[in-house]
């Protein structure tokens, strides 16, 4: 079934991925999850999901634990190693406590037993989506700051580093062995290029990229 692969120019618009070897489960989950108003993509196996995924895209994976080929837990481990930020909600047909413990300790959002309460499922999927969206947003913001930082000259970067340390212009001039006038010009360029309204604003920006 076409789960509506609605790509979006906004890098932080999330997608829900349903990975299950049972076609009926896959289809019915998509049917239910579409009520969240989020694009849903279906994959019949962990391998198919890996082939289709776009690294870095936010979203949530609703993942069956047991599947032929790569299992849900193996996929989780693989995604973790790749540094993916996708939230994972596990679905299991068989309440398998050790498996659940393993999944949760490896960062899964939740471990649900089939057939699951739709409230809980949707709630957990939303939670996972929000988390992924937040991470994505933060990452996007950091990337924007970094892009601004990249526009600075080396001297401007040096001045900025000292500005965010709260040092006055004359101390900066002394430390960099340049004139106060020169410091003032660089500082004005930094504030302009970084689109910072204040030193505090600039400091907050730089902390997000750290």
């Amino acid at each position: 079934m076409n789960c509506g692969n609605c790509g979006s120019p906004d890098p932080c618009v999330p997608t829900i991925h349903v990975v299950d070897d049972d076609e009926a489960i896959r289809h019915s989950l998509a049917f239910l999850l579409k009520s969240l108003g989020v694009p849903v993509e279906c994959h019949p196996s962990a391998e198919a999901f890996l082939a289709a995924r776009k690294p870095g895209k936010p979203g949530c994976v609703v993942l069956d634990v047991r599947m032929p080929g790569m299992s849900g837990l193996e996929l989780q481990a693989l995604l973790n190693r790749a540094g993916e930020t996708l939230g994972i909600v596990f679905l299991s047909g068989h309440g398998d406590i050790p498996m659940a413990v393993q999944a949760m300790s490896d960062g899964a959002v939740h471990f649900l037993e089939k057939p699951c309460n739709d409230e809980v499922l949707l709630e957990q999927v939303e939670r996972a989506l929000n988390r992924s969206r937040d991470i994505c947003g933060r990452a996007a913001a950091a990337q924007a700051v970094q892009r601004r930082v990249d526009t600075l000259t080396q001297r401007e970067k040096d001045v900025m580093a000292l500005v965010v340390q709260g040092k006055p212009n004359k101390v900066i001039a002394f430390e960099l062995d340049i004139s106060i006038k020169t410091v003032e010009v660089h500082r004005a360029h930094v504030m302009e290029k970084m689109q910072a309204d204040s030193v505090a604003d600039l400091t907050r920006m730089l902390m997000a990229t750290a």
């Binding site: 019915s28 239910l32 057939p115």
Partner: protein, 580 residues
């Protein structure tokens, strides 16, 4: 005229009186076994002597054969008889004739014991020396009823246990003249000849043969002297009076006979005791003793009652035995039937148990299998509810409801399949495509395969040909093989099962190959034995039952093992097109 008539009348009335008063004719019955003329000639001297001594009588010889003579005695148409000792004894017993003189062979031997037999063989037959040697030989004799000849010898043979009719190659009765018997022996037509004693000597004296060419078996000279005999001697022919013959007349005849001079070798002496003849007849159960052969049932019963009682007891015992055996057979048959029925019931129970056990092993997988459509139904239902609440996407709601129905049907199908598999049933072979039960088994196994991460590949050949088999049993066999394969691969990375079917003109074959560790030599050796198992929860019945099912359908089930895993095969005979 009247006088004449009267005279005739008187004459007629007197006739019987005159006849009775006329004893002038004295009729003497003579046994003429060699013809009337010879008989008359032989006895002519005696008759002549009697005639001379009894002048007032007209003596008349009446030559008759054995039956004729007996009839004449019975009808009293003779007054005296001259016959052989055997016949005399018979007539004595039957008609009460009384001997008044006995024939003596010669004046010298006035003893009347000179009837005996000689059993003659050629002198060259050194193998024949005693009467006992006659067993199995061919005999010749004059006639079966001849006394001084066959019967006398018969008695001797009977005493040493030889029945001349049964224990020899046969007896040829050649009739008269008696010389024929000797000729038969001389020519070799017979091994031995039975003749009256003295014949041999007589013929030798007449120059008809050479005495040294012949031998008399058990030959001996009787105490009174005479010829060589093989038998004891018996009294010679008697001269007997009938019961009606007056004693006075008998006395005169007797006196005349005793005073008769020896003429032509004939002489008469005092009547001797014919007891030896009686003994012979009794011993041979002939003549007056013939009744010994045909005894009545009552006599037999009296004579042999212990034997009869024993026989009756034996028969009774046998009847009881037969009845008892019949009852026992019937009872045992019932028991056997019951045992068969019980065994069949047990076997059905066991098969059912094994199917339950198999399903038990699959239980969690099957639960999962049923859970899937239920989970899907729940998802669809919840999705529909949300859409209805939000008043959006009516097409989605319709689709969801349709999917709910589909998934409910799927769940029901699984339950149906399970119930068909575990239902208690009597196996019933049908003509079927082996692929059908294989697909059913694969369907049931799907859940296990998914859960265990086992990849199942099926290569089911088209146009496999039909087989005669029980569907559920075949399903059980395939499922067993699949379950075993899955168990064998537990804990291995590579988990693949390949199921294939194919067929040739003769048979249809199925193989289940796994990528497990293969089978140990011990497992290979005991695989198909009941209760052999390598699984902690296994019953150990699966493979032994499976083999039983396959073999019951005329097929074969076997295992192979290699480094790439184990492979189980079974074949079933393919039905010919016209049979299906």
């Amino acid at each position: 005229m009247l006088l004449g008539r009267l005279l005739i009348l008187v004459a007629l009335c007197l006739l019987p009186v005159l006849a009775r008063a006329e004893p002038s004719e004295l009729r003497i019955g003579i046994l003429a076994f060699r013809g009337a003329e010879r008989a008359e000639a032989e006895w002519e001297p005696t008759l002549r002597h009697l005639g001379a001594n009894l002048p007032e009588y007209a003596l008349r010889a009446v030559p008759l054969d054995l039956d004729g003579l007996a009839g004449a005695v019975r009808d009293e148409t003779v007054d005296f008889v001259i016959t052989n000792p055997g016949h005399y004894v018979e007539l004595e017993a039957a008609e009460g004739i009384i001997r008044i003189a006995s024939l003596a062979a010669s004046a010298e031997t006035v003893t009347a014991r000179n009837v005996a037999s000689a059993v003659v063989v050629r002198a060259s037959r050194t193998d024949l020396r005693r009467l006992a040697d006659l067993r199995g030989t061919r005999l010749a004799a004059v006639a079966p009823e001849a006394f001084g000849g066959f019967r006398v010898a018969w008695r001797e043979m009977a005493e040493i246990g030889i029945d001349p009719f049964d224990d020899t190659s046969g007896v040829d009765f050649l009739g008269f003249p008696i010389e024929r018997v000797v000729e038969a022996v001389a020519s070799g037509a017979a091994d031995a000849g039975i003749v009256r004693a003295c014949l041999l000597e007589q013929m030798a004296a007449e120059g008809k043969l050479r005495a040294e060419d012949f031998r008399v078996l058990d030959g001996r000279i009787p105490p009174g002297g005479g010829c060589l005999t093989s038998t004891r001697s018996y009294p010679d022919w008697p001269f007997a009076k009938l019961a009606h013959t007056p004693d006075a007349l008998a006395k005169r005849v007797a006196v005349a006979l005793l005073t008769m001079p020896v003429r032509d070798g004939h002489a008469w002496t005092v009547p001797v005791d014919y007891q030896p003849v009686h003994e012979l007849f009794r011993a041979l159960k002939i003549g007056p003793y013939e009744y010994l052969r045909h005894r009545s049932l009552g006599q037999m019963a009296r004579d042999y009652w212990p034997f009869l009682a024993f026989a009756a007891l034996a028969a009774l015992w046998w009847l009881i035995h037969v009845a008892r055996v019949e009852v026992l057979v019937r009872r045992r048959t019932e028991e056997l039937k019951a045992a068969h029925e019980e065994a069949r019931r047990r076997r059905d129970e066991m098969e059912h148990g094994a199917r339950l056990a198999l399903l038990g092993e699959m239980a969690s997988s099957l639960a999962h299998e049923i859970n899937q459509p239920l989970a899907a139904i729940a998802n669809y239902a919840n999705g529909c509810q949300r859409r209805l609440t939000a008043h959006t996407d009516p097409e989605g709601v319709a689709e969801g409801i349709g999917q709910i129905a589909t998934q409910a049907e799927r769940a029901a199908g699984i339950v149906r399949r399970m119930r068909a598999f575990v239902r208690k049933r009597v196996p019933e072979p049908h003509i079927l495509d082996l692929n059908d039960p294989v697909r059913e088994a694969l369907g049931l196994f799907q859940a296990i395969a998914a859960r265990r991460g086992v990849t199942v590949s099926a290569f089911l050949a088209d146009g496999l040909g039909m087989v005669r088999a029980d569907r559920v049993q075949m399903e059980q066999v395939v499922l067993n093989l699949l379950q075993n394969a899955a168990d064998a691969m537990a804990g291995r990375d590579d988990r693949r099962i390949t199921v294939s079917t194919w067929g040739d003109a003769e048979r249809v074959r199925l193989s289940v190959a796994d990528s497990g560790p293969g089978l140990s030599a011990e497992a290979l050796a005991h695989l198909f034995e009941p209760f052999f198992t390598t699984k902690p929860e296994g019953l150990g019945l699966g493979l032994s039952l499976s083999r039983g099912f396959v073999e019951a359908h005329g097929g074969r089930l076997w295992a192979e093992s290699g480094p790439d895993g184990a492979c189980f095969h079974f074949t079933l005979p393919r039905l010919r097109e016209d049979a299906s």
